[in-house]
Subunit: 402 residues, 2 copies
């Protein structure tokens, strides 16, 4: 199979065009009843609809038919990276999610505080779900651990969850979880899946030894397990892959981290959509590509709150005039996956896509919604091809072959 980025590296053309990718997280939905309308179809979205009339619509498949993606694979697809080729380990994703500035050689680990009894057997894999305040204090204690040859970082995530990062030369992260996934047994020993990871195993073992000593009086959180031990994938940046200077205008750490992963500059985007629009305007001259992320279409879907998701969709629509006033050459509105309120979860349903540019072939769309997208000019396509559409409409791709 051809690597998309081998192609874009060869064909990339730099120019003054501007591309905006506006991601309403979990945008795709479902009607509550057969014959009904989805959240997006229910929402009053005059600005999306105006874009639809001059652009083209379609439906994207984030990973494969039937596969519901997490935020990581969902965004990698939108950014033009095959999510099956570039898998992001749990440790890395957790680090991104707390805005930890992970380096390319760092080993990142998701930790869980747990409870062990006097025999060393796990009695609670989540340490009685201790509060975040306790978790944060325990992380501060663990952050004092010193291991020769590496830097050790321990950061709280939430409640019993934490992140551990080892930074040093020659670390490889192919190490098994120490969480046995059940109680009544001791934690597993860290074990390397390849020779190159032997050093990481030594460091994990020493870390656990010291942590056991430090936490011994902190029941129910008197030990921790290590999970999802991983390193950043070796992934080309936006600059390398597409020749674009890219910026992320995102509020939530996870999405800022995913943007950093592909080499975007992560801007100070504030906390509201208004803040994000201010940020976009201020940075407009400095970048070619802008990833604008909005979270609440997803979280309302996860809550199963159809009406709230409709309202949040309308909020995103209301931000569009400030984007179009900047006169981008290409504007895309889409989601990283569907989160139908009916499902209260990420789902596998194809994701609505709207692309507006002067070079669009008119497809007769009148409004932005799943049913119109099904008949749209982009057809149904794999999300990893979206960036090719964006670059093409921005005049940023040379002809292939003579």
């Amino acid at each position: 199979m051809t690597d998309i980025h081998d192609l874009t590296r060869r064909l990339q053309r730099r120019n003054d065009s501007k591309i905006v990718l506006l991601v309403a997280d979990g945008l795709g939905g479902l009607p509550l009843e057969p014959g009904g309308k989805t959240e997006l179809e229910t929402a009053r979205t005059p600005n999306f609809d105006a874009l639809a009339r001059r652009g083209v619509l379609g439906l994207s498949t984030p990973v494969l038919p039937g596969i519901a993606p997490g935020s990581g694979p969902g965004h990698l697809g939108l950014f033009g990276y095959d999510p099956l080729q570039y898998e992001i380990g749990r440790g890395v994703l957790e680090s991104l999610g707390i805005d930890f500035d992970l380096g390319p050689a760092d080993v990142a680990i998701r930790g869980n505080f747990c409870t062990i009894d006097e025999a060393g057997l796990i009695t609670d894999r989540r340490a009685g779900r201790i509060g975040s305040e306790i978790g944060t204090k325990l992380c501060e204690k663990l952050d004092s651990i010193e291991i020769p040859g590496v830097e050790v970082f321990v950061r709280p995530v939430k409640e019993y969850r934490l992140v551990i990062v080892f930074r040093g030369d020659g670390l490889v992260g192919n190490v098994n979880d120490t969480d046995p996934q059940r109680t009544g047994v001791p934690p597993l020993e860290p074990q390397a899946r390849d020779e190159a990871s032997a050093k990481t195993v030594e460091i994990c073992t020493e870390f656990i030894r010291q942590a056991r000593e430090i936490l011994k009086d902190d029941a129910p959180a008197n030990l921790l397990t290590l999970r999802g031990i991983a390193q950043l994938p070796d992934i080309p940046t936006f600059e390398q892959a597409y020749g674009t200077r890219a910026a992320a205008v995102a509020v939530y750490p996870m999405y800022r981290g995913l943007a950093r992963l592909v080499g975007m500059d992560v801007l100070d985007a504030g906390t509201t959509l208004d803040d994000q629009m201010n940020c976009l305007e201020a940075a407009w001259d400095d970048y070619d590509f802008f990833f604008v992320h909005y979270k609440y279409t997803d979280s309302t879907g996860e809550d199963g709150n159809f009406d709230a998701k409709v309202a949040r969709t309308e909020d995103v629509d209301a931000a569009v005039p400030r984007i179009t006033a900047l006169n981008p050459d290409v504007i895309i509105v889409t989601g990283d996956h569907s989160t139908p309120a009916k499902c209260k979860a990420h789902s596998w349903h194809p994701v609505p896509v709207l692309l507006a540019a002067d070079s669009c072939r008119f497809d007769g769309s009148e409004s932005f919604g799943e049913a119109e997208c099904l008949r749209g000019g982009l057809g149904q396509f794999e999300a990893k091809y979206l960036m090719l559409h964006a670059l093409a409409h921005a005049g940023r791709l040379e002809k292939f072959g003579a």
Copy 2:
């Protein structure tokens, strides 16, 4: 490329859901005249249409655009196996077609009785198309052949066609056909395509030597040629790939064999659609996935009998209420390929697909037919992805990535 089953193994989730895959063989058709209706569109199918109104439609491509599949690849695709990755040799397919219980190490061969003259040259590659009764008697004679180190099975298929199976340790089936594909020349010698197949060549050679002696007075069937020498593909079972307990409710040996190939339990399904529905009801509590196969939409298509294919399509439709009464979580109606009466043969035309489940995104379909399928929510997709859709709608797949 990612192997679909690597993914489904990782993501499989077991639950109490039930999936029914109702295959009307050769379902896709063609209108007899431009602007006319296909067999499926002509048929009165109130039950399919009711499912279409609450489900989604689409068109599947069994192998690749323009490729008309045999029953083997057609069904492998429906079962979620890439038919280009898992090729089923002719010898294996013939064995499955006579309900022979082929073992994983067996070498299966399709044989043709032929006629040779005194010089040993083939004068008729099909032995004057002898009747099945003669073929059966000759197979009984050949079944007495004994070769040290292997068990030998010889079974009639039909007329001049037979199946030979060698069972023993260390057999590999990469051996060329002995049928020279023309008359006036002697049969070819069996030849190994790799070193591991040397033993199989020895056994084939000895088998032919004895057969020549046994058949010498049975002209026109005084010898046989060996074709499609093959072994079962190394294929994950439904249980392994999807975590489902799967059952086949199929009448014809070929389809029972294909189901057995992927590890389904093959139930005693009787001979009529009514028998099959009784079988389905009786087994309902014991399985998660049911493959129900109906043959006559294909055979009437092969006969070029448009009206009969319409009538057989209506017969399948009439069976639907007994399935929906069982309240499956997912019901799929489709074919393994198209067999338009106009073509009198399997064709490459995309195959109508109907999937109904509570989690469908309404696509506005009013009835089940090729034209509606072209506008359906599933779009046009490769048949190998159908199982992902089925599993997703049954809640049997975890989210991919975090």
